[in-house]
Symmetry: C2
Subunit: 211 residues, 2 copies
């Protein structure tokens, strides 16, 4: 078993490669065919977080396509936060949709604004743990579930862009269950659970109200 030589079918990398199919007749480009299939495997849970994907060179050779094409696929998945790269360690599945306690990394307001060449800032107006029957109902939680309520104003180049009231279901985010300490939890929320409210620079306001 462990010293298997050539044709071991249990090598997860080999298995993965065997499941990938490229259709030369399709009008869909190779890199999108690959992306779609890998995407499905990740979303479907077949490829769990932490799994090492074949290196760009390995997959390219196996699929008999150019490394450039594989890289393009990986790059798109990377920018979708589904893959991450660890130099020597290769490419790793990062964020399965349903079960990563760290939650998928999201496009943050700050990031978005930086890409647009603006500097962003946030002012926190309120922050507290509350129980709110109607919100809990949205989450399909018991009405006494603890909820984190966060009110903040986000600004781009000093100009207020949005005012948000964000509700977080604490029971659904294990990392935050002992959040009462406050402080770091907030930074975590802001960084990894960041909610993006994009809008033009007219006075258009995005609002989610309580039911």
């Amino acid at each position: 078993m462990t010293s298997g030589g050539t044709t071991q079918g249990n090598d997860p990398v080999t298995d993965l490669i065997n499941r990938l199919q490229l259709n030369a007749q399709s009008s869909e480009p190779y890199y999108l065919q690959l992306k779609r299939q890998l995407n499905a495997m990740i979303e479907g849970g077949d490829l769990k977080s932490g799994v090492n994907l074949p290196s760009e060179r390995t997959l390219a050779k196996a699929m008999q396509i150019s490394r450039t094409t594989v890289k393009r696929c990986y790059d798109e998945l990377r920018s979708n936060r589904l893959l991450s790269t660890h130099k020597r360690g290769g490419t790793v599945v990062q964020t399965p949709p349903s079960m990563n306690p760290t939650l998928g990394r999201l496009t943050g307001f700050t990031e978005e604004m930086r890409e647009q060449g603006k500097t962003s800032s946030t002012r926190e107006l309120q922050c507290g743990v509350v129980a709110e029957r109607t919100i809990a109902c949205i989450f399909k939680r018991p009405s006494v579930s603890p909820l984190l309520r966060l009110v903040r104003v986000r600004m781009a180049d000093g100009m207020p862009m949005t005012r948000e009231v964000a509700w977080y279901d604490l029971t659904a985010v294990p990392v935050l269950e002992d959040w009462d300490a406050r402080g770091s939890g907030y930074a975590f929320l802001q960084d990894t659970c960041g909610i993006l409210l994009v809008r033009a620079n007219q006075s258009i306001e995005a609002v989610m109200s309580t039911p």
Copy 2:
């Protein structure tokens, strides 16, 4: 003037190329150097919406780099919605940051989901024009200003992701001033004023409440 032959300095494309500089010593990759400079020109208003950029091949030759590198730069700017492509017409500056009456194109929920290989849908719960003192106040408008109130649930692969209540300041969006007719106005809002609420698929809910 019009029949200038070889060395006319007034050709906007030539001017643009002359203003672009690549530093081979820098650790910053070429494609990022280009992107940064073009980005600054667009954000700064030097390159206005509708301007035609040099074709990938032209710029590559002028900068003495590979077309692939130019393309990578253009591609990133395209995905940032700063450039758009018109097959034969070349690559065009799309969205100046501050002054486009059609409002900047925004990353839409649908687009975002499609990139992640999900199909998205939206269900509209409520939609109407109202006057709301407190919201109008946010917009710095008279308390009787007409506001469009839109409640919708966005879904990815059939799973409800967010519930939004969006308020639009009708007086700030000339295109919508005669919105009362309803219908097309809503599609316009959804398409061009689209509000993006990104989040993980845990039960984390983004909410903006009335003050």
